[in-house]
């Protein structure tokens, strides 16, 4: 599925690239590759989609985006892919995932995230989302975030086992 060398590479860079003129030198040495090889591998991982994006990871809350709503929808199974794609194209939507329903206690199968500077802005964006994507007839709930107890970048384990 993934080459061991690429796995090692991703494990090493996932917590962040050094902010120095030659950020790959140390890593290349550790993996017995040239810096150019490391860069080529990263570029291939981006092309294959394993790396969704590579760049600066911002902290939304610190930058004034304090309102964060997870909106969950109960969409008929036959429509979920089409509507998921449509929702994900709205510029203010940050994430859009299909997840399994959990019976009556949690009938929702589509999740999206909206980050905004205020609750009012996010609520207005949600209304735009509903009308733009034709979501008027589906049940949904809005879960604004309150406290953040923990937030760190995804840390994937070094090896399978």
């Amino acid at each position: 599925m993934i080459e061991p060398l690429d796995r090692q590479l991703l494990t090493a860079i996932q917590q962040g690239l050094a902010i120095t003129p030659r950020p790959y030198t140390e890593l290349a040495e550790k993996l017995a590759l040239s810096e150019q090889d490391v860069v080529t591998r990263i570029s291939n991982l981006k092309r294959s989609g394993l790396i969704k994006r590579f760049g600066i990871i911002v902290k939304h809350r610190r930058l004034g985006y304090r309102a964060n709503a997870m909106v969950v929808w109960d969409i008929p199974d036959a429509l979920v892919d089409e509507l998921g794609q449509r929702i994900s194209q709205q510029p203010f939507v940050n994430l859009c995932y299909q997840r399994p329903r959990q019976g009556e206690i949690w009938p929702y199968n589509l999740f999206c995230m909206i980050h905004g500077k205020s609750r009012e802005v996010v609520e207005a964006q949600l209304q735009t989302l509903i009308s733009e994507c034709g979501l008027e007839t589906f049940n949904y709930e809005v879960l604004f975030s309150r406290r953040c107890f923990k937030q760190c970048g995804a840390i994937y384990p070094a090896s399978q086992g």
């Binding site: 796995r7 991703l10 860079i13 996932q14 962040g16 902010i19 120095t20 003129p21 030659r22 790959y24 150019q36 860069v39 989609g49 394993l50 969704k52 994006r53 590579f54 760049g55 600066i56 990871i57 911002v58 902290k59 610190r62 930058l63 985006y65 892919d81 998921g84 794609q85 929702i87 994900s88 510029p91 939507v93 940050n94 859009c96 995932y97 997840r99 399994p100 959990q102 949690w106 999740f111 980050h115 500077k117 809005v142 879960l143 604004f144 975030s145 309150r146 406290r147 953040c148 107890f149 923990k150 937030q151 760190c152 970048g153 995804a154 840390i155 994937y156 384990p157 090896s159 086992g161």
Partner: protein
């Protein structure tokens, strides 16, 4: 206070970060500043917690497995339960949300067996059911996040 250079770095390089041996020099050339200015500005953004890192966003469930989990806990116990959940190194994300399911966290593990063990362990320690909501499909094309830094 964010300078123009800070704003450019925040908005222009979430996705189009140069894939090269000397990426900061390329950014400097793009923006018409010195490499040292780019390095200093990024260090400031990092120290002041405006950015968490420069690096990859890895597609979920391709190295190891991850799962979103929700719990419905009595409000007066929320803080102590959140603390128990946070104590697991496999938990990388933990929020209170306005809902009967009021605690939402993400668990990452090397494989499904380990992930199931962590959930089981959390249920035993907290005395509450953990509802796993694994990813079926990701519709989002991750282009980064366009920040309005002008108001």
């Amino acid at each position: 206070m964010l300078s123009d250079l800070h704003k450019h770095l925040l908005n222009d390089y979430q996705r189009d970060f140069p894939c090269s041996e000397q990426p900061y020099r390329e950014i400097a050339d793009d923006l018409g500043v010195s490499e040292q200015q780019v390095l200093s500005a990024l260090t400031e953004l990092s120290e002041q917690q405006f950015i968490s890192r420069v690096g990859p966003v890895i597609r979920p469930n391709h190295i190891g497995v991850s799962c979103l989990v929700a719990m419905a806990v009595p409000p007066e116990q929320l803080e102590s339960i959140a603390e128990i959940v946070n104590s697991y190194q496999e938990v990388n994300h933990n929020y209170e949300r306005e809902n009967r399911f009021n605690l939402w966290f993400v668990v990452i593990a090397a494989n499904q067996t380990h992930l199931d063990q962590v959930l089981c362990d959390i249920e035993q320690h907290t005395g509450h059911t953990a509802m796993p909501l694994p990813l079926i499909r990701d519709y989002f094309i991750n282009l980064g996040f366009e920040l309005n830094l002008h108001d």
